[in-house]
């Protein structure tokens, strides 16, 4: 029943995203309009995949860190991606794909640095060090990025902040295709780790006694979740709260078991981001809001409510 409701919600979100928009397209013309075919449909599907990926990444990282505040962007990827994008703009790298590609590379460099820092104590990935390393790398990359922007001559570079705040304006069938070829691998890795992640919730020592290969699990989950986030940030900038909030909402309904939690988070995150993006496009038309602002506007009150409920019980 609850799976049916979630599937229904996802379909409704996708349908609304295709039917609603700032441009008027008559209902009968939906099938023929290039605005629907080339803009709305790829944008809705891209939003769904990005939202789903962020939510799964968030759910996995929360389990890995055993910290409810873990978020896909907590580990420095947003700073790395932003620095990559700004560097591409500052160096006048040509080509229509330069910025997303540079953002992806920036995120990968941040990922590698944080991973290396996380191993600083030995072969074991320490979640606390990972967290601190992520914050440090993210802050450093953010500082370098701001420094480049403030000493740069090109006024256009300031708009890089707009890109960073997130948005699905760059959606096209090509972007969607690239993402759909890439995303299934880390997603499957995470879903396959569902059972050991359940065990990890008991603590690293008990998980080891229960036969889980904790060292390998932590590395696998960290890398897969970060690779998912890196792809998401490359195509849509930093979209907050989906990765933090959706897993918590889904835990409320599906419980702690990751075999159910991860697929539910994917559908929930996808539906939420598609709904938020539709609101961002329609609410103040002909203007558009950054979608990250809409997810925060929905997310923060919801999160506050949840916090109250948890602290009450």
């Amino acid at each position: 029943m609850r799976w049916l409701a979630l599937a229904g919600l996802s379909l409704v979100a996708l349908a609304l995203a295709v039917v609603l928009g700032p441009a008027h397209v008559a209902f009968a013309d939906l099938g023929r309009s290039p605005i629907v075919r080339e803009l709305r449909i790829p944008r809705a599907l891209l939003g769904f995949v990005v939202g789903g990926s962020l939510a799964v990444s968030g759910a996995s990282l929360q389990a890995l860190m055993r910290n409810p505040l873990a978020d896909p962007f907590l580990l420095g990827l947003s700073g790395g991606a932003g620095l990559g994008a700004v560097a591409a703009l500052a160096l006048h790298l040509g080509g229509p794909w330069a910025v997303p590609l540079a953002a992806f590379i920036g995120a990968l460099v941040a990922l590698a640095l944080v991973f290396r820092l996380g191993l600083i104590g030995g072969a074991e990935l320490d979640p606390r060090v990972l967290l601190l390393g992520g914050v440090a790398v993210g802050a450093f990359a953010g500082a370098v990025m701001t420094a480049i922007i403030s000493v740069s001559e090109a006024a256009q570079l300031r708009n890089a902040f707009l890109w960073l705040w997130g948005g699905l304006s760059g959606a096209s069938w090509d972007t969607l295709l690239v993402l759909c070829l890439y995303v299934p691998v880390p997603l499957l890795v995470l879903v396959a780790s569902a059972r050991p992640l359940d065990v990890l919730a008991l603590g690293e020592e008990p998980a080891r006694y229960l036969g889980a290969d904790v060292t390998a699990l932590k590395r696998r989950v960290y890398l897969a979740a970060s690779l998912l986030t890196a792809a998401a940030v490359a195509v849509s900038g930093v979209i907050g709260f989906v990765g933090l909030m959706v897993p918590h909402l889904c835990r409320g309904v599906w419980g702690q078991r990751h075999r159910a939690l991860l697929p539910a988070s994917f559908l929930g995150g996808g539906a939420l981001l598609v709904l938020a993006d539709t609101a961002a496009r329609v609410a103040v038309a002909p203007r558009e809001l950054p979608v990250g602002i809409v997810t925060a506007l929905i997310g923060v009150p919801l999160f506050a409510l949840l916090l109250r409920r948890w602290t009450a019980t």
Binding site: I35, S169, P286
Partner: protein, 310 residues
């Protein structure tokens, strides 16, 4: 595009000088423009503050490209002792020392130029700077320069404080004349070209009615398809750009060589007809990058470029 530029430039200059002559005749005081006046001056700036100078300013730091250009146009170029990195027009301005970036300027760099007046662009980011300058005894004049009518007012204001008030009146009169549209040909062009100013691609940002560019488009016989947006610029959905279906897209070029914008190659932008058909109007940034006393020239230039697309 570049080959015929001098001719248009001359034609526009001629029109401007005719307007200027007319205006000078009206004020009847042409000699005062040449020699700075003396004596205390008091003006009210665009932040509503009253600014009193013991005498017209002799050392002015201009912290906005549009006021730098305006000061040089007033004949006060020799009095400008500081500018921002963005102040690159007229070329003579490049010889003036740089004090910073414009918004939220470095007060030490400004003060080091020992100015008797600082001209700031009106922005919340500059409010603190104006207050701090006042504290160290340097008068600051806050000037709004977003629309062409602001520029007319700014020309009068800067003319008074630098002792070039009749030149200020002349420039203001010329801008007012442009706004009244005397340069418009007797019969309006048959189909007005519908254009969009796309200033950023992801997310798409366009120019709205609050900008001087919207005014220039209208005066040049075009229609800004985002005229209904009240602010100077706004983020819009790509599908809105596609649905508004502009005939041409105006691109501000601040880099040479002039090329097609990078988004021309993006698949999602092909939904916009003007992008698909490569219908771009390239606007040189030194003429169109800010509201300028050469507004008449900008209008004539845009009109000429739009005519090619009719």
């Amino acid at each position: 595009m570049r080959r015929s530029a001098p001719r248009t430039y001359l034609a526009a200059r001629l029109l401007v000088s005719l307007v200027l002559l007319g205006a000078c005749g009206r004020t009847g005081d042409r000699r005062a423009a040449a020699s700075p006046a003396s004596g205390a001056v008091t003006v009210t700036d665009d932040a509503g503050h009253s600014v009193t100078l013991p005498a017209p300013a002799r050392r002015v730091v201009s912290v906005a490209p549009s006021s730098t250009e305006l000061l040089f146009a007033l004949g006060a170029g020799a009095q400008v002792v500081g500018r921002t990195t963005w102040c690159k027009y007229p070329p003579a301005a490049l010889a003036v020392p740089v004090v910073g970036d414009g918004l939220n300027p470095s007060l030490e760099a400004v003060a080091a130029r020992r100015p008797d007046l600082v001209v700031l662009y009106r922005s919340p980011l500059n409010a603190a700077a104006a207050a701090q300058l006042a504290r160290i005894g340097i008068p600051a004049l806050v000037v709004k320069q977003d629309r062409l009518e602001d520029l007319a007012r700014a020309a009068r204001l800067l003319g008074v404080v630098t002792g070039h008030s009749s030149a200020g009146d002349t420039i203001a009169a010329a801008i007012d004349a442009v706004l009244r549209g005397p340069l418009r040909p007797p019969s309006p062009p048959p189909g007005r070209v519908r254009l969009a100013f796309v200033v950023w691609d992801n997310p798409p940002m366009v120019i709205g009615a609050g900008s001087y560019l919207d005014q220039i488009a209208g005066l040049a016989g075009g229609v800004n398809v985002f005229h209904d947006i009240g602010s100077a610029s706004a983020t819009v959905s790509l599908e809105t750009v596609a649905a508004r279906d502009p005939d041409v897209i105006a691109v501000l070029d601040d880099s040479t060589p002039v090329g097609e914008p990078a988004y021309t190659a993006r698949p999602e932008w092909q939904v916009v007809r003007a992008v698909r058909q490569r219908r771009f109007v390239h606007l040189p940034a030194d003429l169109f990058g800010r509201p300028s006393p050469r507004a008449a020239e900008a209008v004539a230039e845009l009109r000429r470029r739009l005519e090619a697309w009719q």
